[in-house]
Amino acid sequence: MEPVQLAAILAAAVLLASMVSVHIGVSVALIELALGVLLGSAFKLDPDQSWLVFIAGFASVVLTFLAGAEVDPDDFRERLWASVGIGVVSFAGPFVVATVIALGPLGWSTKASLIAGTALSTTSLAVVYAVLVETGLNTVRVGKLIMSACFVTDMCTVIALSAIFVKPTVWFPVFLVVSVAVIVLLPKLAPWFFGRYGDRVIEPEIKLVFVVLFVLMVLGEQANSQAVLPAFVLGLVMSRHYQQHREEQRRLRVVAFAFLTPFFFLRGGMNVSLGAVFANLGLLAVLVAAKLVPKLGLVLPLARRYAPGNATFTTLLMSTGLTFGTISALYGLQAHIIDRAQFSLLVTVVVLSAIAPTAIAQRWFTPDLGAEHAGAARGAPKPTGPGTGEPLPAPEAART
């Protein structure tokens, strides 16, 4: 199939995914992933056309940058040790268990097992965030704790992903120095640059971010590493700037969601072999258990300590996963560390983990918002906006 023909089919799929998302209230990314699976199977679409590989690769770095930029540093500081404790355990438990199971009983290679461990140890801040905002719990202590812990797990994931791929070359010190330099300098440069060149339809500020991410990708490749870690940390150090300049962040999201991330998720879906999933249902169950059992078993005791009364809810939300799990698996596939069958199983587990723990948490364990407010009443500001019965916040303050 010619590249332009594939592009036309995928563009139609991107449009369809957006429309379906609006109607059924499910995230566009999940629908793009599903459409990728269906179209890939039905029309034998080639997920390895170079233009698609390139856009999807860049999209994964942009998604990682956005994930870092969406962290609220103040929320994180508020309950630092609880967040670090839950977040690290939420990563380390499934990482060790999934890696050992893949390496031992499943007989995967060492690197493939590490990819399995990384993909299955993730949480999804985005999945969690939607649940918390919808219920108003993002404004109370338990919600902030869960979001901060998700961030810690995400950070562990990107560190692991970088460590798995790294085979230092002479370029590695350059990659390291440039990464540190942009992480230090961009937040200092951004206010001047965005003030001087920003707010234009030609979007110099987005181009600046893209240039920096491309430089990190180039150097990461030269150094036999990956740009995910510096991209995530760069997003993190830029998060305060974006909090103060919501419109800039919004325009970056528009570009990412309109053109980049759809191809990442479609390509992810196109690489899934349904035949491999159905032929390995037992294996799938083992991998689901490798993710969920250590999450539930190890996070729950900590959650009981730090979020008494909401421990099960906290634990279930820490068991979710989607974006970083998919990124990890796709990186493994792209580097020929895992094959399509292994990729298909990992992505299926990741998608199941986005849906099942969330649904259970929402159905049976959602904390009582009123009780949480009452508990936080000592000195805590009363939240406003939808779900609280209080007036709406100003538009720029809509994200609390």
Binding site: S27, E70, L322
Partner: protein
């Protein structure tokens, strides 16, 4: 004394044609019996299983803006007809929120449109159906 001395009417608004008719009906009732009116908008679900916080954030922002406009329009219509009105915006499942809100705030009549916005109305029965089943007070469903 009749038990149907309506003094506090709740109308659900969501920007749909059905909700516009419900608001018109509620305003007529309030004009006739000098009841006070509350227009309630229920913000539906955010994108489930999102891949980025940005997607959730932006949808939330869009919904906030949309429902803010809907409620402002309701306020304008009520003022034009001399009806005392309050507005509120709450996130959640529409039928559940409407019935709980009506009970918690002591409304004695709920007015809803026959059909709202969502595909779920067709698949699971309309919000109006569920409100009529669970409300503590009389419900008018406007066609």
């Amino acid at each position: 004394m009749s038990p149907y001395q309506f003094t506090s009417v709740l109308v659900a608004v969501d920007g749909s044609e059905g909700a516009a008719k419900a608001l018109d009906c509620a305003l007529s009732i309030c004009e006739a019996v000098h009841a006070r009116l509350t227009a309630l908008a229920v913000e539906g679900k955010l994108p489930a299983y999102a891949a980025s916080v940005g997607e959730v954030d932006e949808v939330k922002h869009e919904k906030d803006q949309f429902f803010k406009r809907v409620l402002e329009q309701a306020e304008g219509q009520a003022r034009a007809r001399g009806v005392q009105i309050e507005t509120d915006l709450i996130a959640g499942h529409a039928a559940e929120v409407i019935t709980h809100y009506a009970k918690a705030h002591g409304h004695d009549l709920i007015v809803v449109g026959h059909r709202g916005h969502f595909l779920g109305d067709y698949l699971l029965g309309s919000t109006a159906d569920r409100v009529t089943h669970h409300a503590h007070c009389p419900v008018i469903v406007v066609r």
